[in-house]
Symmetry: C2
Subunit: 122 residues, 2 copies
Amino acid sequence: MSYDVYDSECPARAVLDHVGDKWALLVLHRLSQGSTRFNALRRDIPGLSQKVMSQVLKRLERDGLINRQAFPTVPVTVEYSLTGLGECLTANVGPLLRWAEANMEQIKAAQSAYDARVVEAA
Amino acid sequence: MSYDVYDSECPARAVLDHVGDKWALLVLHRLSQGSTRFNALRRDIPGLSQKVMSQVLKRLERDGLINRQAFPTVPVTVEYSLTGLGECLTANVGPLLRWAEANMEQIKAAQSAYDARVVEAA
DNA sequence: ATAGTTGGTTACTAATAGAAACTAGATGAC
DNA sequence: GTCATCTAGTTTCTATTAGTAACCAACTAT
């Protein structure tokens, strides 16, 4: 059976909803650098609130992209890591992030030019 | 000057907000297959409303990823196409969509297993 | 006349994102 | 003793966004 992301009934659309998410992309990329605990992840990704992070982690775990492992320490520590499937995905996410970093100057220039055009038209 | 997507003040974060968007990914991928008009794009991507599409296209145009060209036909037709920058980006988006399509079976299995575990725990 | 085409915008509502406070159970500082 | 801090979250509330449906102008074909 094959899937087509353009089909709105396709379950791949649901996955794209998770993968095509700024926080999920950042979390996956961070985990590709090694297993990380909840709060460490939060410190590494400023701006991501505890609530949203907990939601993102649950979705990614449900999709089989990350593992959640709780250790009975005091206080309990929880470690998140990529599954094989997740690793396979992050191989495709890395280039996207590197592209964003590498092409920022061009994008900022395009935005300024666009804004100037809009102001002129108004 | 270099950028770091983990920095919440980094403008690359703003771009990631646009790129890390399910509709933007689909639109960019569709345009990588050739220039397309507004309504044709809408027909090709079922589930994407006119309002959201118009917003997505404006953001992508502002970021310098797509061109908007209006022809003075009757009624006016508008053609959207990738810029050089956009083409460069979609080279990284394609693999992501293909990954989603290729790994759906595994993801669905993971979701079922997760849901079964959650029900059992409840 | 009426329906259909083009590319949008507007108004309204439902869902989500985000900020801030709170939980519990144990440890360390004063 | 008690106050602050660590852990990993949850809860509550509000602000933003996503989505649905209707509407717009200008024109064509029936």
